[in-house]
Amino acid sequence: MEMVELGGKQVEIDEDGFIQDPDIWDEAVALSLAKTEGVDELTDNHWKLVNYLREYYLEYNMAPMIRKLCKQTGFSLKEVYDLFPSGPAKGACKVAGLPKPTGCV
């Protein structure tokens, strides 16, 4: 674990860059996390994915399965990867401030 500055805050991250305390997440933290994944700007479509992931996590305490993510947001798998090239877990879940998921790549 190490402390890094994200969105103007000191944030603890794991070895893969996932934040350890989901409660510290805000939009500025999300934007900083996105930059670590090669996404320089978060568009409305990025936020649609990120917000769905956060809402699902806050309700169920886990990340949704990928097919559910696609169906609920209306994005195809390819569109999800176009938005977050490192994928729904390594990219989108990280930006949404979720812990590293065990259920997807």
Partner: protein, 130 residues
């Protein structure tokens, strides 16, 4: 079925040979490799996608659906303890002139195609250490 051989190049990079076809597999830089090729588990996903693409394209060709080609996008869901693939998530893009009725039919057929059917059937894995 032809023999498939896997021989070491260096580190955890291996050469896979099938007849006269040769390709490389390696682990990612965070998993002790050099990312010199797809990881073995990625080949598993590729096999599922390629199988589906081949069979669905053949179906479309035989029915004269020619408004676009078949393509497949896929990813894997992993699970821990033991590390394994928990799910294959595949999106199949069809030619635009495939009727809705055939889309449903193709979805059912896809599960019966060789690689998807093999994965769903949990094949026997027989290993001998020489």
């Amino acid at each position: 079925m032809d023999l498939i051989t896997v021989t070491r190049e260096e580190g955890v990079k291996f050469q896979v040979r099938i007849r006269d076809h040769v390709f490389t597999t390696d682990m990612g830089k965070h998993e002790g490799g050099t990312d010199g090729g797809p990881a073995p588990v990625e080949f598993l996903g590729a096999a599922a996608g390629a199988c589906l693409a081949t069979m669905v394209q053949s179906y479309c060709d035989s029915r004269g659906y020619t408004d676009g080609d078949v393509s497949v996008s896929l990813t894997l869901e992993l699970a821990p303890n033991p590390n394994r693939v928990a799910g294959f998530i595949l999106d199949v893009e069809l030619p635009a002139d495939v009727p809705d009725g055939d889309r449903e039919k193709l979805k059912k057929m896809a599960l019966q195609m060789p690689v998807p059917a093999t994965l769903r059937g949990r094949p026997r894995v027989d290993i001998e250490m020489m």
